[in-house]
């Protein structure tokens, strides 16, 4: 359990018990101790709990489970299990090049909640579309994939920097004028999933 979740749970438990006391015996606030108790459980603890809870919710939002909880994202989760090393996300996921429990967030760091205000509003729209609107048949990124997400790990890595293919375009990659995906173009490819074998962990 995350520290913020643990802190949130503890505070909520204490606050709810103390609030119960105030609700059942409002006359407690007649005394000085009762006033302090009411201030704690009706002001300090709820605000603290909501703050910690928000932090915990943001942390939960980074989890792969969270991203794949919407039906529309299921094929993208499945694409992480394709038994073919040419599939870039699958290769990263299966070889622990990204943490499996935060696989989506590791490569999409500025998506919806984690992006700017515009991205956050898009996230709200996604929830609306998920329940009420029409989900597009093909899901696309709003902006071209940023090389920053790749160079965050590969930049400076010997295998990357010494590669004869990378050296001539190294500055273009850093400037984002050439996309990594121009060559590494087998990404999630969710439309071809019906014809591929899936990897099952522990089964060679």
């Amino acid at each position: 359990m995350l520290p913020s979740t643990l802190g949130f749970t503890a505070i909520v438990l204490v606050a709810v018990v103390l609030i119960g006391l105030i609700v059942l015996r409002p006359s407690l606030v007649q005394a000085r101790g009762g006033k302090i108790l009411a201030f704690l459980c009706l002001f300090v603890l709820p605000l603290l709990a909501t703050g910690l809870g928000t932090a915990a919710q943001v942390e939960h939002s980074k989890s792969t489970r969270f991203c794949l909880s919407c039906h529309v994202m299921e094929p993208y989760g499945k694409s992480l299990l394709v038994d073919d090393p040419t599939y870039l996300p699958a290769r990263h996921f299966q070889n622990n090049r990204v943490p499996r429990d935060e696989a989506c967030f590791t490569c999409h760091t500025n998506y919806t909640l984690f992006g700017d205000a515009k991205a956050k509003l898009r996230g709200l729209r996604h929830v609306y579309v998920n329940y009420i609107g029409t989900i597009p048949k093909q899901i696309k990124l709003y902006e071209p994939y940023n090389n920053r997400e790749c160079l965050h790990c590969h930049g400076g890595a010997r295998s990357f920097e010494e590669s004869e293919l990378h050296q001539p375009i190294r500055s273009d990659l850093a400037k984002n004028t050439t996309s990594c995906l121009e060559c590494h173009d087998k990404i999630h490819d969710v439309h071809g999933l019906a014809n591929v074998r899936l990897w099952k962990e522990g089964k060679p």
Binding site: I22, A38, L47, A49, T54, Q57, F66
Partner: protein, 70 residues
Amino acid sequence: MTTVTPTLSRRLKLSGMLVGLGLIVEALTMFWPHPTAFLVFLGVGGLLVGVGVILYLISIATYSAAPSGS
């Protein structure tokens, strides 16, 4: 010592119930790993807590002691 008037008592109870309910809603969303959970956390739980806290602050800010009767 403060005399708890019926109005203050009623407001404290209502404030406590709103804050308590809000915290319970917030806690329940922790077990639901879905984007909607975050919205419910802030939109329902946060709102109930916020209204409860504001009501508590109003009730103590506008409190006036009951007449002593003598």
